[in-house]
């Protein structure tokens, strides 16, 4: 296995965060088609899928296609325990229609916040595209699934023309150990890449 000490670890966060890796669409599917489907649904939709299956990455991939389709976008990402939207719906000038509000982590919001948001979007004529682990009652746009094929493609993309220091079977093992969570699999591969770098020079111990 050929791994250079001086190589960046291709699995570090800089290269694997959403948007850094282009979303891999299955054959026959692409960002433009999804954007069109969203437009036909009145710019309302949900992207669902398990942890680490690429929902945030898909949202990032769709943004450019949605804007090309003539719809301005505003992205809100909700983190752990964030139960309220960090935007002022009434006064934020970015939310004047026509606009599509994208909420990553929609299920973090309290029920009241979700109702208020939906009511606001309906009244304003604002589009709403959300990500969640399970359906939240909006028109389904896409369900992300982490397959071994997708994992292998991502690994190949990250490695570029370098030979990976692990076998496809090891990638498969890591993916199933993480129950299909691509994000955690990539973190595991980070550790594996580090472990299998040939050491050079003095060790601290």
């Amino acid at each position: 296995m050929d791994v250079s000490l001086t190589s960046d670890n291709p699995f570090c966060t800089r290269w694997v965060r959403p948007g850094a890796i282009p979303f891999l669409f299955p054959p026959g599917e692409n960002a433009e088609k999804l954007a069109d489907r969203l437009r036909q649904a009145g710019w309302w939709g949900e992207i669902t899928g398990p942890h680490g299956s690429g929902k945030s990455a898909l949202l990032a991939a769709l943004t450019a296609a949605i804007e090309r389709a003539g719809q301005r976008t505003v992205l809100v990402v909700l983190h752990d325990a964030e139960r309220r939207l960090p935007v002022d719906l009434r006064n934020d000038p970015r939310l004047r229609p026509p606009v599509l509000l994208m909420v990553d982590g929609y299920e973090q919001l309290s029920r009241w916040q979700r109702l208020a948001l939906k009511r606001f979007c309906r009244r304003q004529g604002t589009g709403l595209l959300v990500t969640a682990h399970d359906s939240v009652g909006l028109p389904p746009l896409y369900r992300t699934v982490a397959t071994l094929d997708v994992a292998a493609q991502i690994v190949a993309q990250l490695m570029g023309d370098r030979r990976p220091p692990f076998t496809p079977e090891e990638v498969s093992q890591r993916l199933s150990r993480r129950n299909g969570n691509l994000r955690e699999m990539l973190f595991d591969l980070y550790d594996l890449f580090e472990q299998r770098r040939p050491s050079a020079g003095q060790n601290m111990t």
């Binding site: 570090c12 966060t13 800089r14 973190f187 980070y190 580090e194 050491s199 020079g201 060790n203 601290m204």
Partner: protein, 132 residues
């Protein structure tokens, strides 16, 4: 032959390993860009992290040169830079965290996208960790 603009950065001396408190100096120039096509150039000496955590970055030294009508920037003309390196943080190749120092030159052309060039160097002499 590529007509894409590129940045060439050279560091004086060995140009690879520096001690804290030592002077880092060098020069840069831009290829394939005409004098009137450069609006501004920024030169930074900075460190950034890589690894499993979100990236941290800090700029140790920063210069910006704006072109004006009386003093256009000649990108082909090498420009020098010089700074005294700080005591920390040292370059580090750890397990989950790597700290990298570099000189980064960012060129703002009058038209088109920015051009960025980077030259990595090592500050200090912390040996890389062996994988656990």
């Amino acid at each position: 032959m590529s007509t894409e603009p590129t940045v060439v950065i050279r560091l004086d001396g060995d140009g690879s390993v520096y001690r804290p408190g030592e002077t880092l100096s060098g020069q840069y120039r831009i290829k394939s860009l005409a004098p009137l096509e450069v609006k501004a150039i920024e030169v930074s000496v900075l460190w950034h992290s890589e690894g499993k955590g979100d990236e941290d970055m800090a700029v140790h030294e920063f210069w910006r040169h704006d072109a004006d009508e009386s003093h256009p920037i000649d990108p082909g003309q090498p420009e020098r830079f010089r700074t005294t390196l700080p005591n920390s943080p040292l370059s580090y190749e750890g397990q989950m965290i790597k700290l990298r120092w570099c000189v980064r030159v960012r060129v703002f052309p009058s038209r088109g996208k920015e051009v960025v060039g980077e030259r990595v160097f090592q500050l200090g002499n912390v040996p890389p960790l062996r994988g656990h």
